[in-house]
Symmetry: none
Subunit: 432 residues, 2 copies
C-alpha cells in the first residue's frame, strides 16, 4: 500500500518551522508495517498544490495532506483540493456546526475569516478535530483516498490516532494485528540503552522490533511485533527488558515523570514540598501540572535570593556566609525549612549555578546541589550539568522529580544521571 504525504506552508519551505508531523505519522504507520512512499512539501502556492495533489493521488493509494486549513488567505488546501478533484467549494454544515460549537465553548465571536474554514469541496466527509477550530476532510479521487489534516501538531497527532489511522486501515483492508508495548525510562541515554541491549541480549529476536525515541527528558522504548502469533514473544521480551532496566523504568505508554511521582506519592498517601532556587518554581509547576496533585502537594517555595532563603525557609546566615548558596549545608537547611513550614512528609531542595554567568572555579556553571527526604532523613548530592540555562533547568527539574520518585518508592537514589553516566556503572547499579 503506497501512502504519500503532502505538506504545505511557506513556513515549512523557509526553514522557519521544522516539520515534526511527517515523522509522527511515519512512526504511526510503522505499526501497520507501512513506510511512506513519497513526501512532498510545497509553499502556499495554489497551482503547485493542485498539481502536487494530482500527481501524488495518481501514484499513491492514500494521500495525507497536512497544513493549510487555517483561516488566513495563505491557507489554500480546501481550494486546491477542490480544483484538483473538480469538486466546487461549498459551506459544509457539519464543519460549520463544529466551528460554532468550538467558538461557543470559548466565548469566541466568529469572523468571516473563520467561516472560510467551513467551505470545503462538495461531497467531502469531515474528519473530526477534537482540539482545534479547523476540521479535517477526506474524499476519494483517482482511486486514492485523500485525507486533509491541520498543521498544528497537537491537533494533528490526536487526529492521526483517532481518525486517520483507522480510516487508512479500513480503506486498505489492513488487519495485521500489531502488538506494541511502550515503556518510558529516565536517566539513561539512547546510545547507552542500545549498547546494553546489544551486550546483554545478543539473542534478541528479529520478530520483536525494538525502537527508541527520545522525548525529553524521558526515552520511550517501543516493542513492536506484527501478527497475533508473536504477541507472547512481545510480552516476554518487553518483560526481560523491563527487568534489566528495573528502576529506570518510570512507567508504560505515555507516563510522564511528574505523573509517576504523583502516583507514587498518592499510593503511599504522602505529601511533598519544594524549595527551589535555580529551577525557580519548575519542580512545583511540574508536580502541579498533574490533575489531582492537590492531594500530594500543598505548597512550595521559590527562594531566589539569600534573603528569601532566610526569610521564607529559615536558612541560617552563617551557612550562606560560610558555604555559599550552592552548598550541601544550604540545600539541607532549605529542605528542613520547607518541611517545617508546610508539614509535608518529604521535601526536595535545589540550589545551583544555572548560568550563563555566576560560575567560579570551585562552582562552575552547571554545579547543582539537591537535598531530599523526610524530616528525620534528609540526604544531599551534588550534580554537574554543564548545559545551556534552559536545558540545565529542565534536566535539574527532571532529576529532582526522579529522586523524589525513587525516594517514595524505596528505590536506589545513588544512580547515574546523564552527565555522570558511565556504561559500566549503569550495568553495575542494577541487579542483572
Amino acid at each position: 500500500m503506497k501512502i504519500s504525504l503532502l505538506l504545505t506552508g511557506n513556513e515549512l519551505m523557509s526553514g522557519d518551522t521544522v516539520d515534526s508531523n511527517s515523522a509522527y505519522i511515519a512512526q504511526s504507520l510503522k505499526d501497520l508495517g507501512i513506510t511512506p512512499y513519497v513526501k512532498k512539501v510545497v509553499g502556499d502556492d495554489l497551482p503547485l498544490l493542485v498539481q502536487s495533489i494530482q500527481e501524488l493521488s495518481r501514484i499513491s493509494d492514500v494521500l495525507v495532506i497536512n497544513g493549510g486549513l487555517g483561516p488566513t488567505v495563505d491557507d489554500l488546501t480546501a481550494l486546491a483540493l477542490s480544483e484538483a478533484v473538480g469538486s466546487p467549494l461549498q459551506r459544509h454544515s457539519d464543519a460549520l456546526k463544529h466551528l460554532e460549537q468550538w467558538a461557543e465553548a470559548r466565548d469566541f465571536v466568529l469572523t468571516e475569516s473563520n467561516l472560510k474554514q467551513t467551505d470545503l469541496p462538495k461531497n467531502c466527509e469531515i474528519i473530526e478535530n477534537p482540539r482545534g477550530s479547523a476540521v479535517g476532510f477526506s474524499c476519494e479521487h483517482d482511486q486514492c483516498l485523500i485525507l486533509c489534516s491541520p498543521g498544528v501538531p497537537s491537533e494533528f497527532k490526536l487526529m492521526v490516532e483517532q481518525q486517520i489511522l483507522p480510516k487508512i486501515k479500513t480503506y486498505g483492508n489492513i488487519n495485521t494485528a500489531t502488538k506494541i508495548t511502550r515503556l518510558r525510562l529516565f536517566g539513561v541515554t539512547e546510545s547507552g540503552l542500545q549498547d546494553i541491549v546489544n551486550q546483554k541480549f545478543p539473542d534478541w529476536p528479529a520478530e520483536v522490533n525494538l525502537g527508541f525515541r527520545v522525548q525529553m527528558p524521558v526515552i520511550e522504548v517501543k516493542f513492536t511485533t506484527i501478527g497475533e502469533a508473536h504477541n507472547e514473544l512481545n510480552h516476554v521480551w518487553a518483560n526481560k527488558f523491563q527487568s534489566l532496566f528495573n528502576s529506570y523504568v518510570i512507567g508504560k505508554d505515555d507516563t510522564r515523570l511528574s505523573q509517576a511521582l504523583n502516583t507514587a506519592l498518592a499510593d503511599k498517601s504522602m505529601t511533598v514540598t519544594t524549595a527551589e532556587s535555580c529551577t525557580g518554581g519548575a519542580i512545583a509547576a511540574g508536580i502541579t501540572s498533574e490533575a489531582g496533585s492537590s492531594a500530594v502537594f500543598h505548597g512550595g517555595f521559590v527562594v531566589y535570593s539569600n534573603e528569601m532563603k532566610q526569610a521564607m525557609l529559615g536558612v541560617s546566615p552563617q551557612s550562606l556566609e560560610t558555604y555559599g548558596a550552592v552548598s550541601e549545608a544550604v540545600v539541607m537547611e532549605m529542605a528542613q525549612g520547607a518541611i517545617n513550614v508546610t508539614g509535608s512528609d518529604i521535601a526536595i531542595a535545589i540550589s545551583g549555578v544555572a548560568g550563563p554567568t555566576g560560575g567560579s572555579p570551585e562552582k562552575p556553571v552547571g554545579t547543582v546541589w539537591m537535598a531530599w527526604g523526610s524530616k528525620q532523613n534528609v540526604k544531599a548530592r551534588r550534580f554537574f550539568l554543564p548545559m545551556s540555562r534552559l536545558i540545565f533547568q529542565r534536566t535539574a527539574t527532571a532529576i529532582a522529580m526522579d529522586l523524589l520518585r525513587r525516594e517514595v518508592l524505596g528505590l536506589d537514589t545513588d544512580v547515574d544521571y546523564f552527565s555522570e553516566l558511565k556504561k559500566k556503572q549503569v550495568l553495575k547499579s542494577e541487579a542483572f
Copy 2:
C-alpha cells in the same frame, strides 16, 4: 528563481531521522531572497528517484539533491542521475583522487564499496567535500543546474556555504538582498490579526509579504521584501502595523514573553514576586528562565492549599470561608501577602480552577482570578479559560506575565485575551 530540493534515504521516510538539512539550506537561501519551490523526499527507490529528478529538473532552475552518496548498495543518487539525464557512469579521476587522499590521511584501506563512490555520470563536475569521503557532483539538464550533496549534516552544511551557494549565485546571476522584519505579539489570535489587517489596510502593498506564525503563546508576524529598493517600504509598513497593534507587540525577532517582562522590570529597576495557586509555580519558573532574573525576582510562593495560603501569605480564613479560594478577595490578599513577605515592588497572584474536576456552576473549570500591582494599588480581574489543564496553565501563566509587563510599562491592562477576544473590542481597545 525556482530552487527545488530532493532528499533521499529510507531513514527519512520512516521518521527515524528528522531532516535538518533542508531547513539549513532554506535558511541560507533566504539571504539570497529565495524560498525553496518544492521539497520532495523519497526512499532508496531507483525508479522513483529517476522520475523525481526528471520531474523536478523540468519545473526548477536549480535542483539540490541530498543523500544517497555513500558506499552501500542503497546509495543510489549517482546511478539515478545517470539514468535521469542519460549520461553513463564512469570512474571520475578527480573523485578518485579525493577519495585516495581522504583514505591516506586516515590510514584507511579502500574497498570496492568505497570506490563505487567515484563512479559518477560522465561530464559531471565534482563539488569538493572537505570533511567526508564522498564528493558531491553537479551537471546541467533540461536548463536546470543539478547539485548532488551528501546527507551527513556536518559535511552538507560546509559544502552549502563553500560550494553550493556560490554555484547557485553564479548560475542565477543573483545580487538581490532580502529584508525581513519580525515582530511578536501576545493576546491576539491569528485570525483576529488577519481580519484587522484586511479591514485597516486594504492598500497593503503586494511587495511587502506578510506572514503569521503561531508560536504558542505568542504570534510571530514577518514582513519580507525582496531587493534593496523595497527596504524603505518594509520599514514603513512594519511600523504602521506596529502602531496599529501597539501594546500587543511584546518585541522584535525572538523576544519571549518572560524576556519582555524581565527587560521591562530591569529597565525600571523594579522587583516582582509571585503567589500562585492554579499555575503551581509556572509563572515564577517563566520569569527565572531568563538569565539575569535574580535582579528582578527574589522569591515567590506556591500556595496550593487553603492552609498554605494562610500560613505562607497571611490570607484570612474569613475570606477563604466566605468567598472561596478562587475569588477576588483571596487573590488580592495573596498579592498583598507576597509583597509583605518579600518586599518586592509588585506582585501577581493567581487562583483558579484548572480542572479537570473541581468546577461548580458558579465557578466552572477554567475560572481564574488574578490580582496584580504594587502594595498601594492592587487590581484584580476574572478570566475564563475553558481549556485542557495543560493549556489552561500555560495560557494563565502567559496572561499573568503579560499583565505584569503591561503594568510595569504603564500600558492598558484592561485588554482582551483570547477567549474574551471580540473583534470589535480589539478594534476599540487600541487608538487606531
